[in-house]
């Protein structure tokens, strides 16, 4: 410890000298007054030079207690890009806390910090904390917080900020401070507070954790005032940390659940639709039990891993036909119920048509009705549901299953049993058709997304694997070709469709999977990668094993299609739809990008025959505990 202090003093002295030299070399002021004032020398120095020597702390710092609070919640990691507004807390994490539980994860952008926490939660089942630096850090983090909000994922966001104006260093520290800093994200966080004392910090942080992890789960914000962090714990101050007792999730009202059960039990063609249903592995078991009790097909909208793809009642690819035939539809934690039961044409005249047949009854169970805000429109278009039940889907399923079983007469049981054979045949035909579809463009270059998915499946199917990226941009091939059955086999997508989620969320999920020894797989979109390539470095630095396979279609492809559509509508030609929407000229060399940060990488791979051996090499790297990346040039979707 003493050696560390000596070395640090030497280091500081060296940097101070360099800083002095740079001050001498500063440019002279121009003769004419500039339109925008440069920071003063004092402001520049305050932000960029070594802090002046601080007097010895008069006692144990408040930030040590903050670490105790964070540790009491079982938080194992704190992701952050380092910053002065939480220097007290960071110092306590690495020195007082020994950088273990919580461990500081070095991120290269606050958006990556939050996305890492986002992906981590969906595997670990418990939140990660994120440190953000006042105004600028939180603004960087805001898009990722919005993704987490839309995806109903708790993130414990701790903000550095300095409330007392007389305690702020002149210059930049004022720029990075706000009177009400959490207001930046209040529209899409569930709760925030600005504790005025350490005891207040303890109580509000435990409260924030409970609020965040009670469905609907959402991000929360706690402001850790700089004065509280760096000030001492007062002599004789009696500080206590409230015990964390998780709040039981809300369950649907019993009468409404019985009505839903009655409709389902008596339906001739019931359909179950699930989106963000299965919060835990138990959610999958419960949904299987409900579906088998009714012999009802399940459409998995893939907000989470809800239903085994090989189960005879998994009919996700038949959604349109099934919705049209259904007499009762049971939506479980749907993001967009209206869009589930209506068709919408994006053409000259935007038209809508009902997909359901006349008289079809709609049931909804979910937490969407329990917590809604006004400004951001993530609640989607209003759907007129016959039996809307406000309650957590997974928590309500046991009561619903029990009510359905209690409702079924022997006659209804026989009728329901009679549906099984047709369901088995339809499921088998669907899976066969999907495999057949995958053969088209099998040998094409660029590599087809079906071939990419099939080759990847061949490389991992005998491992304990976990796919931590959405697959809607590759035509859903993993869901169509792989056998997904465990909760960690799939974790859904970003929630808010904000680009830049993919890579850092995968790194966070891989960190959670590391403890279980799982092989984590990320099919990484190229446009998304370029938002946050620094997450590659974080994966290498923290030795997080993760196999990333690029879906490199060299475009923001969805936008290419939009531009083409508009060009066609306006009869202006379509050949310029690539302007501003493609990532070519030059092509990005993702293997070199990854290698530059110390990651094992190969590519670009354009010949599908080269995929299998490259995947074998990459999997070997990941199995020895390192991240690896394969750049594969792919078909658009």
């Amino acid at each position: 410890m003493e050696t560390m202090k000596v070395d640090r003093r030497k280091f500081l002295a060296g940097v101070a000298g360099a800083g002095a030299a740079s001050t001498v070399a500063a440019p002279q002021a121009a003769a004419a007054a500039p339109a925008v004032k440069f920071p003063s020398a004092a402001a520049h120095a305050a932000e960029t030079l070594v802090p002046a020597a601080l007097p010895a702390s008069p006692g144990r710092p408040g930030s040590d207690f903050m670490v105790d609070v964070i540790r009491s919640l079982g938080i194992e990691y704190i992701a952050a890009n380092p910053a002065s507004s939480f220097r007290g807390l960071q110092e306590s994490i690495v020195n007082y806390g020994g950088n273990a539980k919580p461990e500081f994860l070095t991120c290269m952008h606050e958006e990556s910090s939050v996305a890492m926490a986002h992906g981590y939660f969906k595997i670990a089942g418990k939140p990660m904390a994120v440190l953000c630096h006042g105004t600028v850090g939180l603004q960087h983090a805001s898009m990722a917080l919005y993704n987490a909000w839309c995806d109903r994922v708790p993130v414990i966001t701790i903000l550095g900020n300095i409330v007392d104006a007389t305690k702020r260093r002149p210059g930049v520290e004022w720029l990075h401070t706000a009177q009400d800093v959490a207001a930046i994200v209040r529209d899409f966080t569930k709760w925030d507070d600005l504790p005025g004392s350490l005891q207040h910090f303890a109580e509000s942080t435990v409260r924030a954790y409970k609020i965040a992890t009670t469905p609907p789960m959402e991000p929360v914000v706690i402001v850790a005032d700089g004065g509280l962090q760096e000030g001492p714990i007062n002599d004789g101050e009696s500080l206590t940390i409230p015990r964390l007792v998780p709040t039981a999730p809300p369950q649907g009202e019993a009468g409404a659940v019985r009505e839903a059960a009655r409709l389902l039990a008596n339906a001739e063609a019931p359909v179950i639709v699930a989106d963000r249903l299965a919060r835990t592995p138990q959610g999958i078991k419960l949904l299987v039990e409900l579906a088998e009790t009714l012999n009802a097909p399940v459409i998995d909208q893939r907000g989470r891993m809800n239903f085994p793809t090989a189960h005879y009642l998994c009919h996700s690819e038949r959604a349109r036909a099934l919705i049209g035939q259904a007499d009762v539809i049971c939506g479980l934690e749907l993001t967009d119920y209206w869009g589930t039961v209506n068709a919408y044409a994006d053409n000259h005249e935007r038209t809508t048509t009902a997909r359901t047949k006349a008289g079809a009854k709609l049931i909804s169970i979910g937490v969407g009705d329990l917590y809604t805000k006004s400004n951001y429109q993530d609640f989607e278009r209003f759907a007129a549901v016959d039996v809307p039940i406000a309650g957590d889907g997974e928590a309500t399923l046991p009561a619903l299953i029990e009510a359905v079983k209690a409702t079924l007469s022997s006659e209804r049981r026989a009728a329901i049993a009679g549906r099984a054979e047709a369901m088995r045949k339809a499921h088998a035909a669907m899976r066969e058709r999907q495999r057949m579809d995958a053969t088209y463009a099998w040998d094409a270059s660029p590599v087809s997304t079906a071939r990419l998915s099939a080759e990847l499946w061949g490389a991992i199917r005998n491992e304990d694997w976990s796919l931590v990226s959405p697959d809607n941009f590759i035509s859903g091939w993993p869901h169509r070709l792989w056998n997904m059955e465990k909760h960690h086999h799939f974790i859904g997508g970003s929630g808010g469709a904000g680009v830049g989620y993919g890579l850092p969320a995968a790194v966070g999920a891989a960190l959670a999977n590391r403890a279980a020894g799982r092989l984590t797989v990320n099919i990484q979109a190229d446009g998304d990668m370029m938002y946050a390539p620094g997450a590659l470095w974080t994966a290498v630095h923290h030795k997080i094993p993760l196999l990333s396979v690029m879906h490199n279609n060299r475009a923001y492809h969805q936008e290419t299609m939009h531009l083409q559509r508009l060009g066609n509508r306006r009869n202006r030609g379509v050949d310029r739809a690539v302007i501003g929407t493609t990532i070519t000229n030059p092509n990005v060399d993702y293997a070199k990008l990854a290698q530059s940060m110390g990651m094992w990488a190969e590519g670009p791979i354009e010949n599908p025959a080269d995929l299998a051996p490259a995947l074998a090499r990459a999997v070997a790297v990941v199995k020895r505990g390192e991240p690896a990346l394969l750049d594969v040039v792919t078909q658009p979707r």
């Binding site: 053409n347 495999r435 995958a438 053969t439 035509s475 083409q564 379509v574 050949d575 078909q635």
Partner: protein
């Protein structure tokens, strides 16, 4: 390479009386398939995907496909003749016809259950 049958083109009203028509070119059709963005939803080999259905090999009869291209009112925007000429459409059709059939499912070990 298979070529578009002349009767099919005539039915679709593609041929203009008295105008000399070159044999539809699959190579030019391939270039056009990319240039006018067909690949964006249907893939470079017309294999289809989440954004658009499979259109090759064995495309729809030419008259049906041409009518759809000109008058689509669904997710696919219609291509007016000013954007995609009759000749270019015939070339694209020739390209679709030239795309080989995929391997048999039984011959692809990776796709066996």
């Amino acid at each position: 390479m298979r070529c578009v049958s002349l009767p099919a083109l005539a039915v679709a009203g593609i041929l203009v009386a008295g105008t000399a028509q070159a044999e539809p070119s699959a190579a030019n059709g391939h270039m056009l398939f990319v240039k006018v963005g067909c690949y964006q939803c249907h893939g470079y080999q017309g294999q289809g995907g989440a954004a658009g259905p499979r259109i090759a090999p064995d495309p729809l009869p030419f008259d049906g496909l041409a009518a759809f291209v000109r008058t689509s009112s669904g997710e696919m925007p219609p291509y007016a003749a000013t954007i995609l000429s009759d000749g270019d459409l015939a070339d694209i059709y020739a390209y679709l016809q030239s795309i080989p059939r995929p391997p048999a499912l039984a011959d692809v070990p990776l796709l066996k259950q």
